[in-house]
Structure formats: structure tokens, C-alpha cells
Amino acid sequence: MSATALRIALVGNPNCGKTALFNLLTGGRQKVANYAGVTIERKEGRFTTPSGRVLQILDLPGTYSFDANSPDEQITRDVLEGNYPGEAAPDLIVCVADATNLRLHLRFVLEVKRLGRPVVLALNMMDAARRRGIVIDVPELQRRLGIPVVETVAVKRGGAAALVERVDGDMPVAAAASLDDGPSRANLHVQVRELLAATVSMPRQTAELDDALDRWALHPVFGLLILGVVMFLVFQAVYAAGKPMTDLIGDGFGWLGDHAAASLPVGPIKSLVVDGLFGGIGTVIGFLPEILVLFFFILLLEESGYLPRAAFLLDRLMMSVGLTGRSFIPLLSSFACAIPGIMGTRSIQDPRDRLATILVAPLMTCSARLPVYALLIGAFIPMHHVLGIFNLQGLVLFALYAAGILGAMAVGWVIKRIHRDKSEHALLMELPSYRMPKPRDIAIGLWERASIFLKRLTGVILALTIIMWAISTFPGPPAGATGPAIDYSIAGYMGHYLQYIFAPLGFNWQISLSLIPAFAARETAVAALATVYAVGGDSDTVGLAHALAANFSVASALSLMVWFAFAPQCMSTLAVIRRETHSWRNVAISFGYMFVVAYVASLLTYQIARLFA
């Protein structure tokens, strides 16, 4: 047993099951960070072998080749060669290859081997390969490659046993580097062909199941129909499954607040705890179930292999509005949060497509807007059924999501028209085999995303909730004042001032006020409104909804929802845009266009809705 941990790097082509293998080895014990200066995820985990050896496992971004025009591939190569500043070269490279797709994956194995570092090849998805009747002569492959080869099944408990045994034993010797730069690229393919001919027999090139599913999923008519139905069901499910849990959490926090209140003396501290902390945070945490339901479906679509199919179907459509099929995945992530969405645009190699995707990503309705929508819909849209099956609240939610998408299409189209660069931009996207999503991978993904949301919640939202409470409590009303106390506070003054700008949109000063913390994080608008209106009533969601319904019109509510559909995104998103594009100009463009679009759209909504009211 060595004193220091053995450093292992996992590499492989995209879709080789590398991340599933990483999850299997490390379980929940993962640390996700970013490489300095860039936003490529650095995932690291620990694992202790049966003999007590500690392994430090690094999951590197998926790569097709080292020719690398993308930053992910550059980083992968630098880390493997030990050229990445602050990152020691790994003691061992585990190159993961999909056993059902060796023709593609072996080429990268050969490239990795040429680095001249210790390499183990993990033939992953061996279960799927066997099911399809693929026979691999592992000893022969090992002999010809000159590196150890182990079989793994990343989706099965104990599926990495052979790999663990291998790294627990002696370190494999480094494969010899080809100093003369070895075979040319075309020769790598020749080598792969020879290896395949000697070691692999495949009864059929593709899985029959994939062919059958793709006949429907990629069908020009049924494919689009299926996509539409999938998206619609996801959004209905977010509302139907998330809502009851949300109510439960709201009640729970109300109960906690009451109990805390009973043990505290009357005064500002009691007011801070009950109205500020339990009221504000309870309201926002209450929306976590809805957000998790959405994350769950995105993960499910991602893991099953359906997302690239959707990208295939939509590529032409996206291209006509200046985007690419690849934009679909970052844009879909942006429905959860624009930050991972914008970070995900790194998979778009083309700078112009990437910038266009970054600029429109915040128009996708992120989960932070969901609390605001849910609150307003709950308060102003009657709960009845349309055509017997659809609930009107769900339809309004769907319409708000659709507004974001249509807005994004319009903006993409405009960007395309005014952009000078009219050259060609590639799609080149692999459609992986369909896979049954594994509960472990879904659970880990869900946990990762939920903890990011909760970290933001506890930090930013807690601070803002307290600030909001303070500015809406102090200074207290003068003796003999008749209006509500908050009218005399700092918040009251700020809200009244902002109202001059927002009055044409139908916003009263309380709404105008809530837009200040909303800029820090949109979901805090709910907490802010809860604090502002807590003066006379309950601080749970239902109580807040009643307070809102009593205090402003349906036209104002619609206008506010439209505002949130288009308004300049949160500070964190702007910071990510700055970091991803290294340009304040892009931040200014992003903020500016969204403010104008939101203002005009809300103005129209309010004025038109008033005519019908």
C-alpha cells in the first residue's frame, strides 16, 4: 500500500460509458470543479481498493481525437501528458472503449497509446456486446496492442471488478512512445482494421433495437410528433408531480415558523426568524420538487440517448434561426438553469454558433423562474380543465415556456442576419445506442444538480432574504402613521422610485421592489414578495398567493410573467457569459437586448390585457 494515492485518469470517446464507470467506482464521493480559467468540468473521485490502496480518479472530457480543435480535447491531452499547469500527470490512464463500437473507439486507444504513458484499456459495455453476439478475443487484442485489456460493465454492480483487480496489482509498464510520430492518421485506421479483423467478430453492425427505435424516433412525421409529445408531457409532469410536494413543504415550513415563533420573545428577532427566514426560505425551497422533476426528465432523456435524436430532428430548424442541432442540448439544460446551459455550449466547436447559443440560452425558462410563474399562475389563473384533460394552469405554463422558445428563435434569426461571418459551420454529431437509464446515474446527476441549486439557495438567497427583511423593516413607521409599516421603510422608497420606470407595465411598487433581488437570483422575487406582503398575512405560498390576488390585477400578473420570460437574466448568468466569451461587450449586448425585449413585451401584454379586463 502506497502512502500517496494512485492517480488514475479516465479517457475515451464520447458515449463510451466513461462517466457511468466513474460513477460506479466513486459512487457519491465526487468532487466537481472547473479547470482554472475555463469552465470545463473537472470531476474527481476517490476509491479504495480491497487491498487498501487509495485511487484518485479523474474523469476527463470525452474526446474523439487529439487533433483537438476544441478546448476540451486540448485539456484532455495536456492533462494526460502532464503539461497542464497545476495538474500532475496521471500515474495510469484508463482508456475506456465501447465494446460494441470498437471500429471508432480503437482509433482513439491507439492515439492514447502513442502518448507513451501507462495505459489500461477497459472494454466497456461488454454485456451489450455479448447480447449482440459480438465476440472479442481479449488475449489476442491485449497481445497486439501491447497494453493490458480488461472487460467492464459500468452499469452493473461489480462490473468494474476486473479493472479494480488490475490496478490493485502491479502497475502496467508504459507502452513505448513512437518517437518518429509513428503512423500517420490514415495508418491508424489501417491498424484498427487489422486489429478488428484479428480479434473481433460481429454478426451485425448495429443493434436491431436501435434500428427499430430509430425508424420511429427519426421518422420525418412521427419523429417530430414523438418529440412534441415528450416535451409536452415533461412540462405537464413538472406541474402535476411537483405541486403536491410543494404544498407539503410550504405547510411544513409554516409549521416550523409557528413553533419557532412560540419560543421567541416578540420583537425584531422574532419577525426576522418567522417572516424573513422561515417565510422566505420556505417559499423558495418549496419549489425544489418542481425543479427536481424537470432535472429528472432532462437526465432521463440524456441518459437514454434520446437527446441527440432530438438534435438531429431539430438541426435544420435550429440552423434556419442561426443555431445548430447541438444547441438543443445546452438550450434544454437552460430550462433547468442558464449557467450549466451556457457552460454546456463548449461542446459547440464553432465560435459563431456558440455565441448565438449563449445569447439566446437565458431566454429558455430556467428553473429559477418557475417559482415566480408557479406563484402567479396559482394566484391568478383559475384551476379548471380545458377539453376535459388539460389543466388551464399547465397550459399557461406551457405558453410561457413557448414564449421563451419563440423569442429565442427570433433573436437567433436576427443575430444570423446581422452577423458578418457567413461561412460554413459543422454539425458532425454521433447518435449513440439507446440505453436503459440506470437509477444510479440518474440519482447522482440529480444530486449534483440539486446541490448546485441548494448551494446558491443557502448562500445568495439567505443573504438576500435577510437584506430584504431589513430594508423592508427599517426604518419603522413614525408615531401616529396610518399606512402599512413597509411604506415607510427603505424598501418602500426604492420600490416607489422604480415604479416610475415600471408603471407603464402595470407593476406596483412591491413588484418593482422585488425586481431588485430578482436580478441577483430570479427565484428570490418570490421571497421578496413574501417578505413585503408578510406584513399582513401568512408567509407560505398559499398565503402569498392570496395576498397577491388581493393587491393587483390579472393584467399586471400577466405582464409580470411576460417580464420574467424575457427579462435580463441573473447576475450569475452574466458572470458566466463574461467568463465564457471573455468579453464585456457580449454581456452588455445580452443585458441590453433582453431589457428592451422584456420591457416592450410586458408593455404590450399589460396594455392589451387591460383592454379585455
Binding site: 487533433d67 490514415a186 485506421h189 460481429m202 453492425q205 435544420r316 430548424l317 454539425l427 454529431m429
Partner: protein, 80 residues
């Protein structure tokens, strides 16, 4: 003939990938992904809008290529 002109389902073999312009990264990526001389290819699906993109089967892998990308690949249809 060009891969972009290959009828759906018709078996063919890659002949070569041409650079559309000097140091064409798209052509290089295609070669890295296995579009090299002698590799069997097939068009398995066609995008719903404007018959674009194409889904190309090469070996056991399926790649979505836009028509302009597929046009870089020259294929020969081998008489069965």
C-alpha cells in the same frame, strides 16, 4: 458520387474526403471519425425539414451530417 447524393439505404464504400478549402477542419474531423478509403457507409435516415441533416451509418457508428458536410465525402457504389 458524393455521399450527399447517395439514396437512402443504398450500400456504398468511402473513396475519399476532400477539403472544401485549405486546412478544412471539417474534412479532417470526418477522416478522424473513420471516413477513410474502403469503409462501408449507408444513409439510414433523413432529417424531417429540407431533407437535412443525413444520418450516416459507418461501421457501427451513426453520425448526423449536414448535406454540406456529407458532400465532402466521395463514395463508390459497389455492384452487388
Amino acid at each position: 458520387m458524393r455521399l450527399s447524393d447517395l439514396p437512402k439505404g443504398a450500400p456504398a464504400v468511402v473513396d475519399r474526403v476532400d477539403d472544401a478549402h485549405a486546412a478544412d477542419p471539417i474534412a479532417q474531423r470526418l477522416r478522424d471519425l473513420g471516413f477513410v478509403d474502403g469503409e462501408p457507409v449507408r444513409v439510414v435516415a433523413i432529417g424531417p425539414v429540407g431533407a437535412d441533416p443525413l444520418l450516416i451509418q459507418i461501421g457501427s457508428t451513426r453520425f448526423a451530417l449536414r448535406r454540406t458536410e456529407a458532400a465532402r465525402v466521395t463514395v463508390r457504389q459497389e455492384a452487388a
